[in-house]
């Protein structure tokens, strides 16, 4: 391994590759900040540039830098505008945006930067150590387990989305899953539930839905009830985090780096599930009084998803580099780029072309460091977005929302769908329905159905649930996650009504 490390250092520390990392991180951060352009689209846009360089190490280093930058940039817009451009940063807006509204935007961005750095760096260490071993673990997971894992993820999200509101969260999740079935599925080449509308043939756009669920209602709320966006005087104060805060988030960062990394290794899971699960886990294990803080600007609630999504991004390189199987859309695009450069990722990559494997790992360390160095001093300027007067800010938020949906699909109908769903989402928000579960259900719906269908076909029926103990165990956990909170709420009410507990 030491030898590999040295090869990696040698490759990564050439002037050209260092410049590549810096350029990639910068491009990623700035484009990632625009809501609507996620890492997938940015990497797709950068591929022609990367391929024309001809050197696979440099290309992969550039693209990995873009990937990290985009994830960090996406959390910036989640925190400042509540407009997550990337599914993986949706969870960051739960606590990041309330912090920004309390005038702690600078601190929120600092925590995000540090948590991302720690998550990415620890993830890279884990990647180095576990890459060979983990590939065999990932192989143990069959489609039945993926299906069960997604059910667990969705139940966890429904369970944490609101206290005593589990039914509402569940119906939003189901609604998201229902929306995911619109359009043509991968397994059956039949259009479903399109109502004969051509534009629905390919289903609803993820970005359109994300914008409609988060950015648009938020902007409408700002219009309806003008409130002071900035702190007392618009100054971004206390960038620094105090020693106590650092102490509070350190264990969160440690746990979430490991958890996020391992979730990222599982193909199909990736940064999104990692960030939501990280948020849910940290919320559940936090002490009672801190649990109240979650959703209202808890630093732990911000650090958890930020760490987890960066660690998962690193983790998602494991199946790509060791098995040649892309675990997420983004790594799938990276795989395409590698094949175009005449490199075949897979178990032999480490033997045949170790310099590529190790250079990528080294560039992960450098990339994370560059991001931290670039972003910490830039934070006051980034956070200045909030001091733009409301009369200008709102039209621009609306415009970027529309643009995000338009660029992705190049289809003006998408904009009408966006406005329609935005109005529905605002009504749901009035009635206190949680919106995040809908989006997550939508994102996971397609994958979930594919895995469900695959295991149904493999086992010729529903038998896979009891024939595979791991699947059954995961599904039991999922059921407990949904039922336990409502049981607890019921008991708490009963106790409040004066009924004694049984022994």
């Amino acid at each position: 391994m030491l030898e590999g490390l040295l090869i990696g250092l040698q490759t990564a520390f050439s002037i050209q590759n260092l410049l590549m990392v810096i350029a990639g991180c910068l491009i990623g951060t700035f484009i990632g900040m625009l809501p609507g352009l996620g890492p997938m689209s940015i990497i797709a846009i950068m591929i022609p540039v990367a391929i024309s360089m001809g050197d696979p190490s440099a290309a992969l280093i550039l693209l990995a830098g873009v990937y990290y930058g985009a994830i960090f940039g996406g959390s910036t817009s989640s925190i400042l505008l509540n407009a997550p451009g990337v599914a993986g940063t949706v969870a960051s807006s739960f606590d990041g945006y309330p912090m920004a509204r309390q005038g702690k935007a600078g601190k929120a961005l600092t925590i995000a930067a540090i948590a991302s750095f720690a998550g990415g760096t620890l993830g890279a260490v884990l990647l180095m150590v576990f890459a060979p071993a983990l590939s065999s673990v990932a192989l143990l997971f069959h489609s039945a387990e993926y299906f069960a894992l997604m059910v667990v993820g969705l139940s966890a999200i429904a369970a944490f989305a609101g206290s005593g509101q589990v039914a509402k969260a569940v119906i939003m999740t189901v609604l998201g899953l229902i929306m995911a079935t619109v359009g043509e599925g991968a397994l059956f080449n039949l259009p479903r539930f399109t109502m004969g509308i051509m534009d629905l043939q390919s289903g609803f756009g993820f970005i359109t839905l994300a914008m409609a669920m988060f950015a648009l209602p938020e902007a409408l709320f700002l219009v309806l009830k003008p409130k002071d966006l900035k702190g007392d005087d618009g100054e971004i104060k206390d960038l620094r985090i105090t020693k106590e805060e650092a102490k509070a988030i350190a264990p969160v960062v440690g746990r979430q780096s490991v958890q996020g990394f391992f979730i990222g290794v599982l193909p199909g899971a990736g940064a999104t599930i990692a960030s939501f699960l990280g948020y849910a886990v940290e919320r559940n294990i936090a002490p009672k009084e801190e649990q109240e803080e979650f959703g209202k600007g808890s630093i732990k609630g911000l650090a958890a998803p930020e760490t987890a999504n960066n660690a998962a991004c690193t983790g998602s390189f494991v199946p790509l580099l060791t098995l040649g199987i892309p675990g997420s859309g983004t790594t799938a695009i990276l795989l395409g780029a590698l094949i175009a450069l005449n490199v075949t990722p897979g178990p032999r990559l480490m033997l045949d072309e170790p310099q590529i494997f190790w250079a990528v790992i080294m560039s992960m360390f450098i990339g994370n460091l560059v991001l931290l160095i670039l972003n910490l001093p830039l934070i006051p300027y980034i956070a200045k977005v909030l001091s733009v007067p409301r009369n200008y800010l709102i039209p621009f938020i609306l415009f970027f929302t529309l643009m995000g949906a338009y660029i992705g699909q190049n289809n003006a109908t998408e904009l009408l769908i966006l406005v329609g769903f935005g109005v529905c989402a605002t009504a749901l928000k009035f009635a206190d329905y949680p919106l995040a579960p809908l989006l997550i259900g939508f994102i996971l719906g397609g994958m979930m159905e594919d895995n469900f269908a695959r295991s149904m076909q493999l086992y010729d029926g529903i038998g896979f649930i009891w024939e595979r103990p791991m699947t059954l165990g995961l599904l039991v956990i999922a059921a407990l996650l949904v039922l336990l909170p409502s049981y607890r709420a019921r008991r708490a009410r009963a106790r409040a009504a004066g009924i004694a507990d049984g022994d």
Partner: protein, 160 residues
């Protein structure tokens, strides 16, 4: 009946319609070779429709009591807020969506940004106009030239 239960009623309707489509309309057109599959395109939707109907009924019948929280905006007094501005902005977005292609990106976007801040009560034209034009130009340049995504800049009659 509170708004959340009205919404549950609407969602129940959605789930029933969806369930009807899944249970009764989809299987007829299934090709014979697919009918021997353990899973049909309608299997997953069928499960979802049942789940949806159960959950909406739970909300509708109020099995799960929720504490009434202090909402950010009280929807019962919607008139107290700037409802007119919100509705006008929504209308503006629809118009923008319809105009983007025929009128072209540059004109419709500048108009959108200017009218947007006008609706919100901004009257400083000497700031509004330059901000809108510069922003439109910059975004167009970024998207078209740097990212290479085609957007028609001018109305179709100018050959844009």
């Amino acid at each position: 009946m509170a708004l959340d239960r009205w919404i549950a009623l609407v969602l129940l309707g959605v789930c029933l319609t969806y369930g009807y489509a899944a249970w009764f309309t989809m299987d007829g057109s299934l090709p014979p070779f697919m009918q021997r599959n353990p899973i049909w395109p309608s299997t997953f939707p069928k499960v979802l429709s049942i789940l949806g109907i159960i959950t909406t009924t739970i909300i509708l019948l109020g099995f799960e009591k929720s504490e009434i929280k202090e909402a950010d905006i009280d929807y019962r007094r919607l008139g107290d807020y700037h409802l007119d501005q919100a509705l006008m902005l929504l209308a503006l977005m629809v118009i923008y969506a319809l105009c983007l292609r025929p009128v072209g990106f540059l004109i419709s976007t500048s108009a959108f940004l200017i009218l947007g801040s006008f609706i919100l009560g901004e009257r400083k034209w000497h700031i509004m106009l330059p901000v809108a034009f510069i922003a439109t130009g910059a975004v167009w340049y970024l998207v078209q030239e740097v990212l290479g995504i085609y957007m028609r800049p001018l109305p179709g009659i100018f050959g844009g």
